[in-house]
């Protein structure tokens, strides 16, 4: 339990401290050290849960099981590696005068605040607190999106704020409905908004209210996942903010929202006794997947292009969780990890590439592999990985998803394959000249730390070649939690 409290308290303390000292010359290093500490405690937490089963805090406010603990670990890891990248990147931004001291305080404070809200969202047992934390994550990042104060970034920030705020309000209405249903069904019971209590009594809840609630919840949290047609904020927010922010937004925030939806689906499906939540998720997932794959082709900003790729992958995961069954769920859980790792690695590389070229415009980034081979090669490998080529982990998880689809709904494999091909073409037609083209005169390499990228890509490669036994059993435990049946 101590490990959990530390995992939450360290970022909380850091949020407050950075509000005062975030502009300090060594704040970036301190940020990194704090992320290391959070990672160590969350690793400790994961080991505890792995050895001793689910943990419940004494007040029942926090509940850690196999499903959320691995996401906590991914969260802490990506937070850590992004902090490694953020240190020199933000130092460069300060050096060229794009951000001043006040904004550096804001940046570091909110970096930790964002990690904190996500950790709270993952670890809490209270569905109301889950909402508060997800909304908190929006509030923490909204000023970071507009950190550069360009008209574009302010527009992106405003859009992000309004669209996500309106969306997430629907989720609160859904939460109120769930609470309403629970109060009717379990009169006099305490803490009926706790997930563990609701799960126990799911069968007693009124199906009509639950169905209505799930629609609101899916629309609300779906806005945060970036599901089409509520995705408009996502490419803007990801492309206009500082690159470390794009990496953690894309790698982590979207996962948290999907996590919330899956938690509710776990609650609903046994209670309703029908497949409605699953079908809704499959529909929205498939729509997002296909639309994003097509829109990839029409992008001119490299970060926007990869945010559409995020929408595409989130759609695929939503589809897989909706499909249900052990195989699809296992694949989706694995995909959450590999997508987080790969996508944040790509955003880090894109950040370096944008520094090399001095712009984010796809048409102006040319010849990376000649100017700075380290950046060029990792850019190429990262894109190969995200497009789903073997031997990377994304291939493995997509293969599992496709096998599951083939088993239960073979016709749906066709749009999935078409979507993947279209997305692949979209990524590579833009990637080709950026990596191999003729570099413009005077393009010089920048100081880049490729360690986080390499670490992520090696992990993804490892997961693609051989999933370690520990992780496989772990994901299997999570699969059992989600669908009631394991794969192994």
């Amino acid at each position: 339990m101590t490990a959990l409290y530390l995992t939450l308290l360290i970022p909380l303390a850091a949020t407050l401290a950075f509000a005062v000292i975030g502009h300090w010359r060594h704040a970036g290093t301190l940020n990194l050290l704090i992320c290391v500490a959070t990672f160590v405690t969350s690793l400790q937490l994961a080991l505890e849960v792995f050895a001793g089963g689910p943990l419940m805090s004494p007040g029942k406010l926090f509940y850690i099981d196999a499903f959320n603990v691995y996401l906590i670990l991914v969260n802490a890891l990506v937070g850590l590696t992004t902090a490694i990248f953020s240190r020199p990147y933000m130092a460069h931004e300060v050096a060229i005068g794009r951000v001043d001291d006040v904004r550096m305080r804001l940046y570091h404070s909110m970096y930790q605040g964002f990690l904190l809200t996500m950790l709270v969202a993952l670890s809490t047992n209270n569905l109301g607190l889950l909402w508060v934390a997800v909304e908190g994550a929006t509030l923490a990042t909204v000023l970071l999106v507009s950190l550069y104060r360009t008209p574009e970034s302010i527009e992106a920030g405003w859009k992000y704020f309004i669209i996500c705020g309106v969306g997430i309000a629907q989720a609160l209405f859904g939460t109120v409905l769930i609470y309403f249903a629970a109060e009717r069904a379990l009169p006099g019971a305490e803490n009926v908004l706790l997930w563990s209590v609701l799960k126990e009594h799911a069968g007693q809840l009124e199906p009509a209210v639950l169905t209505l609630a799930f629609v609101f919840l899916l629309v609300g949290y779906g806005t945060k996942i970036g599901l089409v047609p509520l995705h408009n904020w996502l490419p803007d927010a990801h492309s206009e903010g500082p690159t470390p922010m794009s990496a953690i937004l894309s790698g982590l925030l979207l996962n948290i929202a999907l996590y919330a939806v899956v938690r509710y689906k776990m609650l609903m499906e046994p209670a309703l006794g029908n497949q409605l939540p699953g079908y809704l998720m499959m529909g929205f997932g498939m729509l997002s997947f296909s639309v994003a794959a097509i829109l990839l082709h029409r992008q001119r900003d490299v970060k926007r292009m990869f945010s559409y790729s995020s929408i595409e992958h989130m759609g695929l995961m939503t589809f897989a969780f909706g499909l249900g069954g052990p195989l699809a769920t296992f694949g989706a859980l694995l995909h959450m990890i590999v997508h987080s790792l790969t996508k944040s690695a790509i955003f880090v590389t894109v950040g370096h590439a944008a520094h090399v070229a001095g712009t984010q415009s796809i048409e102006k980034i040319r010849g990376l592999i000649r100017t700075q081979p380290a950046v060029g090669w990792t850019f190429l490998l990262g894109t190969v990985a995200i497009a789903g080529f073997p031997p990377f982990g994304v291939f493995t998880s997509e293969f599992l998803l496709f096998s599951a689809t083939m088993k239960s709904m073979p016709w749906l494999v066709i749009p999935l394959l078409v979507g993947l091909t279209v997305a692949f073409a979209g990524l590579f037609r833009h990637l080709q000249p950026m990596v191999f083209g003729e570099p413009p005169e005077g393009q010089a390499p920048v100081k880049a730390n490729m360690l986080p990228v390499l670490l992520h890509l090696v992990l993804v490669l490892w997961l693609g070649i051989a999933i370690p036994d520990v992780l496989a059993r772990w994901l299997d435990q999570a699969t059992i939690m989600v669908v009631g049946k394991g794969l192994l």
Binding site: G128, E135, L143, E155, A208
Partner: protein
């Protein structure tokens, strides 16, 4: 059942619910910024009255804390802050012509009907004193959303956003006697932070695009042209 046959508390709650919905429509049609802020404060005051009434009627005293939070945040702090910002940004006298205002009002009416339609399955199983309130709170949320869609001024959009939040709070209070305390506090904190962030954004919008008219936010497109 006629309204007069219900117990007195229910009659009062239903009347207040109707007034809250009415204030939502006032917000939808009001074109002067300062009056808009005042109407929003009145909506908060009505919400405060409902919460106090529910607290007395149900004997759940934690609702008084929610009521106090509502009074502090939505009746005083947020309207005060918005008003101050409006004065500082010198947009007090600005009048926003709501495009196709009669259409917007009909749209609002349609949303109320829709809310009743959606809430039908709930109403039938509810044993609560206040059956209509879920439908009305949903209507307040949706009308707030409509307001965000139809308005072009950032301040009006923020008020639409906050009035959606009022609808949600009303749903929680009337359907379930409020959320658990930790959640209430969390939501109030989020609303407070959101209000402050909106204030910061007004200045960013003013310095970044030179106006608080969101029509000028037109640089980012889904696909490039």
């Amino acid at each position: 059942m006629a309204l007069t046959q219900l117990p007195l508390t229910e009659q009062v709650v239903l009347t207040l619910a109707a007034l809250i919905l009415f204030s939502s429509f006032l917000l939808l049609a009001q074109s002067r910024i300062v009056s808009l802020i005042h109407t929003f404060a009145w909506q908060g005051a009505l919400l405060f009255a409902v919460t106090c009434l529910m607290a007395v009627a149900s004997g759940r005293h934690h609702l008084f804390i929610s009521a106090a939070l509502t009074l502090a945040l939505k009746v005083f702090f947020i309207p005060w802050m918005l008003r101050r910002l409006v004065v500082r940004l010198d947009i007090r006298r600005e009048v926003e012509t709501v495009g196709g205002s009669s259409l917007v009002m009909i749209g609002g009416g349609a949303l109320v009907l829709f809310s009743y339609y959606v809430a039908l399955p709930i109403r039938e199983l509810s044993f609560l004193a206040t059956r209509n309130t879920i439908a009305i709170s949903l209507a307040v949320v949706l009308v707030g959303m409509l307001m965000i869609i139809t308005r072009r001024k950032a301040v009006a959009q923020v008020i639409g956003f906050m009035s959606m939040e009022n609808g949600l709070f009303f749903a929680a209070v009337s359907a379930t006697y409020g959320m658990p305390m930790v959640v209430e506090l969390g939501i109030a904190f989020d609303v407070l932070v959101a209000a402050i962030l909106f204030g910061i954004f007004f200045f960013q919008l003013r310095s970044g695009i030179g106006s608080l008219n969101v029509d000028h936010l037109n640089r980012l497109h889904e696909v490039d042209r």
